[in-house]
Amino acid sequence: MTDETTHALALVPEDLPKAEAFLKPHRIVLMLVFAGLIVAIAVFMRWDWLPRYLPRLGSGILVSLAMLFSTAILGFLLAVPLGLVQVTGPWFLKAPARLFCTVIRGTPLLLQLWLLYYGLGSLFPQFPAIRHSLLWPYLREAWPYGVAALTLSFAAYEGEVMRGAFAGVPQGELEAARAYGMGRWTTFRRIWLPRAVHRALPTLNGETVLQLKSTPLVATITVVDVYAVISKVRQETFLTYEPLLLLALIYLCLTGILVVAFRYFENRIPTRGA
């Protein structure tokens, strides 16, 4: 009952104002006020620390983006079977998938992250088999736990979306495919999956923005993303506002770029007859 509205909570492309209606007298005044505010912030606040931390900030942003895209892609790959078995699967696949989505969506991501990092992280070293395995150099680091937690979270939310999308593909199209003599796999590959992805695309944009907004959580398990770099700045310079304002600005820009990029791609996909 509460599945279909998550995308309303993220920025969706329709939110952006149109260019032609943008410049009006009161908007120009407001923009001047904001420009004055920004100049005041730039002049009166302390920014002398910025050049020293610029390289680290750059690598932090790259880590955040790597987290975002790797987990979104992995999560989506996991979400497709999750959604599919909830629509067609036998009960012994349907029930676990449903349970997985409910549990992940019902608990905070921070808790899942800490469960994986502190829980599994404290459990793994006790098994010699894992300590001596090939994966151990990775399991000793923090980022695999971050990737795992973010991937599972994305998969659960997007799996629910894909369930709706798979169920929403008109039955007649699938019957038509069968009437053409397509096998089950071919039908899935040529008709069902593309149509479902197409239906889920607007929601996918919102989910990706939400995913970007949950990446800073990995900083709490010592992954050095942009949020962690800013925390470091705050510890070393004893400044309260400036680093946080810069961080907010960085995320605003990243979200803006993401939304605009998604709108560009969405416009390239023909929607006539959908």
Binding site: T5, R105, S122
Partner: protein
């Protein structure tokens, strides 16, 4: 050593050596913040929605900035900004007024922070819901000679509820889970308490799973209530599906 301490249930006992009581206390804190923040967010949301729909162009643009910024910046960053900057600004303001500084309790700060974040989202939900109310109903009410406040009270608010409730229900679930983020600024709600308990006893799995179960119970119970409320608000509508 770890193998048997993994399922040492006595750690969850309510009395002093066990951590169950502490956990429940933290859970209570979480619920308090979620309810307070959600209520504040609803107030802001109603105001914001009406401002966006019926306000002047300047107010509308300012509200647009508010909702866009809140929805584009991660909650964790907003919580840090509002938590530190908000308390600091309030104290500076009170100092300038000559009243002197106050200590802001973590509870109030948490409610304020969650409320501001929720306000932006509920503004959007309520704006969409109000726009979904058929214009004819409002025109009919106006034709009956109802005053604007009466139209609001009798027509707009009740008629928008069925459209708003799925979004508002989602927001409630998000509010309950956003309280976990306050652990990062050191407020002792369920997640932070869990981490402390787990760190002290080294029984990470037990405590994190227990906390997860508490959150899950909260979500599932909320879902039951939401179902009842939704059925009540949608009475008279055609059954979906």
């Amino acid at each position: 050593m770890a193998a048997d301490s993994l399922i040492n249930w006595s750690l969850l006992a309510l009395a002093a050596p066990g951590w169950g009581g502490v956990l429940l206390q933290g859970f209570l804190h979480s619920i308090e913040i979620a309810i307070g923040g959600y209520a504040l967010g609803l107030l802001l949301g109603v105001g914001g929605a009406f401002g966006k729909l019926y306000g002047g162009p300047v107010l509308r643009d300012l509200l647009e900035c508010y909702t866009t910024i809140v929805r584009a910046v991660p909650e964790l960053v907003l919580i840090l900004l509002l938590y530190y900057a908000g308390t600091d600004l309030l104290n500076q303001f009170l100092g300038a007024m000559g009243i002197g500084t106050v200590d802001i309790s973590g509870l109030m700060a948490g409610i304020f922070v969650i409320g501001v974040v929720q306000g932006a989202y509920s503004t959007e939900v309520l704006r969409g819901a109000i726009k979904a109310v058929p214009a004819g109903q409002i025109e009919a009410a106006r034709a009956y000679g109802m005053s604007p406040t009466k139209v609001l009270r009798r027509i707009t608010l009740p008629a928008m509820l069925p459209y708003a409730i799925p979004g508002l229900a989602n927001l409630w679930l998000i509010a309950t889970k956003d309280t976990a983020l306050l652990a990062v600024v050191g407020f002792s709600e369920l997640t932070l308490v869990t981490r402390q308990a787990a760190g002290t006893t080294k029984a990470y799995f037990l405590f994190f799973c227990a906390a997860g179960a508490l959150y899950l119970v909260l979500t599932l119970v909320s879902n039951l209530f939401i179902g009842v409320i939704e059925r009540h608000a949608r009475r008279g509508f055609a059954e979906r599906r």
